[in-house]
């Protein structure tokens, strides 16, 4: 019980630090496993497991909207099970990945729940209630920290067999559905962003950017550079003609009609 509380608290607190200090990398395995090792009284195993898992999870990073397997839970619980069962880095490795993948879908749920917060955030913004906005932001963070605490606590309390059984018992179709929805939800945000910017005629610029990624697989930075060049040509090289390219004067008015 005490150990379960301790591991849960470490996971929750590490996530809190990570998101309160602007992503300083304290949730990487090399750090997480060492701290778990310190807490459970076996720093050496912690360091070794951390080094091993760091190599494995090196590529799992959150870039943009994609949610990779959760390295914090994977490394934290993998290391805990390895130390508590007296086995080495291999056990940690075998456990870390499935746990990380399970935790990833819990993270998706938190991100979806917080999407619903945004309506409330908008009403706070409309009232210029900065205290409220900061409190809401912190509440969103604490929600995720609690999720990590509960995951750590329950997993250590009921052990690895229970963790495995739980993963196997979630209907695959529901997991898949949530995963699909998670992949689609950014579309709502982009739709909101397009709302004041896009008109009948300049939708082509949007499709142009989309197609450059879809067909040519250019990185976003490259597409931005193309965009800058295109904008430069439209604005400076073809003065007077840019109206014809964009469509019409009505289009220009639409642009500014926010």
């Amino acid at each position: 019980m005490g150990t379960a509380l301790l591991v849960g608290a470490i996971l929750g607190i590490l996530w809190f630090i990570e998101k309160m200090l602007g992503t300083p990398m304290v949730i990487r395995p090399i750090v997480v496993s060492t701290i778990i090792g310190l807490a459970l009284g076996d720093v050496q195993t912690g360091l070794l497991v951390g080094a091993t898992l760091e190599l494995v999870f090196m590529g799992f990073i959150q870039v943009g909207g994609a949610v990779p397997p959760d390295v914090l839970v994977g490394a934290g619980l993998g290391t805990s099970f390895a130390i508590l069962s007296g086995s080495g880095a291999e056990v940690a490795l075998a456990l870390a990945l499935p746990i990380a993948i399970l935790a990833q879908s819990l993270k998706v749920v938190v991100f979806i729940v917080r999407s619903y917060f945004m309506k409330y955030a908008m009403s706070l913004a409309k009232a210029a209630n900065i205290r409220g906005l900061i409190t809401l932001n912190m509440a969103g963070l604490v929600l995720q920290c609690l999720m990590y605490f509960v995951v750590g606590f329950v997993a250590i309390l009921f052990g690895s067999t229970a963790v495995e059984a739980f993963v196997n018992n979630i209907p695959g179709v529901i997991m898949n559905g949530l995963q699909v929805a998670g992949g689609l939800l950014p579309a709502v945000g982009f739709g909101l962003l397009l709302l004041p910017m896009m008109s009948k005629f300049n939708v082509l610029y949007f499709i142009f950017g989309f197609a450059l990624f879809a067909y040519v697989n250019l990185p976003i930075l490259g597409i931005t550079l193309f965009g800058v060049v295109l904008a430069f040509i439209l604005v400076y090289e073809m003065p007077g003609k840019n109206v014809a390219v964009a469509g019409s004067n009505i289009d220009e008015e639409d642009l500014f009609d926010v």
């Binding site: 998101k19 309160m20 602007g22 990398m25 990487r28 090399i30 360091l47 951390g50 080094a51 760091e54 990073i61 943009g64 909207g65 994609a66 991100f111 979806i112 945004m118 309506k119 908008m122 913004a125 409309k126 210029a128 900065i130 900061i134 809401l136 932001n137 969103g140 179709v173 898949n176 949530l178 995963q179 699909v180 929805a181 992949g183 689609l184 950014p186 579309a187 709502v188 945000g189 739709g191 909101l192 004041p196 896009m198 610029y205 949007f206 950017g209 989309f210 450059l212 990624f213 067909y215 990185p219 930075l221 597409i223 931005t224 965009g227 800058v228 430069f232 604005v235 220009e252 500014f256």
Partner: protein, 272 residues
């Protein structure tokens, strides 16, 4: 450009506040607006300085609640530029405020590109390389060195990026005022912004069809056909559909709900 210009004591104080507020950028990261809540809180030191009435402050906060996403380590540079634009907007009644969001959107893509490759791709890997070899020898210096090697540059970029962004933004504004350049910037920013949103939609919105045609004995996955016509056609159509629903007046929350139902039901009947 006004790089040589020193910040006043007051402006310095604001940059300190922006630095500290920027840390909470991702606390409530979510699918609908990503880092928007954290970003508007990051803008607050500027908003409260430039706008005195509650209505103006509310308008500015709402403006910055638009979807936002960039590498957290470099966000202050964008906050700095947006701060300079807000300053101009508060002083000049004829300033077109939609430019602020367009410039922000134009910047978040490239900054995510530079930031991800610099911080996630390069700096982190170097720090891991040095930290790992020590950790493997059982030295506690491993993780400590890893954190220091990563975070010292991180903090420097976070602080000075903000100052630089603010100076850069003010410089652009000073030039802009006397040459009537704003319309051009607005037009240009819209073109770049739309292309970046297009590219980001293509890279972040994910939808594949799991539907399989059966022709005689042959099984043909529908996704293969779609890929031949237009790769990522489904994410494009979905994003445009969301845009059209919003334009028709649907609430974002309703659309989120529709999307989750769509995911689960689609998965149940096996089309996605």
């Amino acid at each position: 450009m006004s790089d040589k210009k020193k910040l006043t004591k007051d402006e310095k104080k604001m940059m300190h506040e922006i630095f500290w507020n920027s840390f909470m950028l991702e606390a409530s990261y979510n699918y609908e607006r990503q880092q928007a809540l954290g970003f508007s809180i990051g803008m607050w030191p500027a908003i409260k300085r430039y706008y005195k009435t509650k209505e103006e402050q509310a308008e500015a906060l709402e403006r910055h609640m638009n979807i936002f996403n960039t590498t957290p380590h470099v966000v202050t540079t964008i906050t700095g530029v947006a701060t300079a634009l807000e300053k101009e907007a508060s002083e000049n009644p004829s300033f077109d405020k939609s430019i602020i969001n367009n410039v922000k959107i134009g910047l978040m893509g490239p900054f995510a590109g530079i930031g991800d490759s610099l911080f996630w791709g390069t700096l982190r890997i170097i720090a891991v390389g040095i930290g790992l070899s020590l950790a493997q020898q059982g030295s506690i210096l491993g993780p400590i060195l890893f954190l220091l090697l990563f975070n010292i540059p991180h903090m420097l970029v976070r602080y000075y990026g903000g100052v630089y962004g603010y100076k850069l933004g003010t410089g652009i504004m000073q030039q802009a005022n006397n040459s009537g350049i704003m319309e051009k910037i607005s037009k240009g920013a819209t073109v770049v912004g739309l292309m970046v949103i297009g590219a980001m939609s293509a890279s972040m919105v994910k939808l594949n069809s799991a539907f399989v045609f059966t022709v005689g004995d042959q099984k043909i996955p529908m996704q293969d056909y779609l890929d031949q016509i237009f790769p990522l056609l489904l994410p494009l159509l979905y994003t445009l559909a969301m845009f059209l629903l919003l334009k028709k007046g649907f609430k974002p929350t309703t659309i989120l709900f529709i999307t989750i139902i769509f995911g689960i039901v689609g998965s149940l009947i096996g089309i996605i």
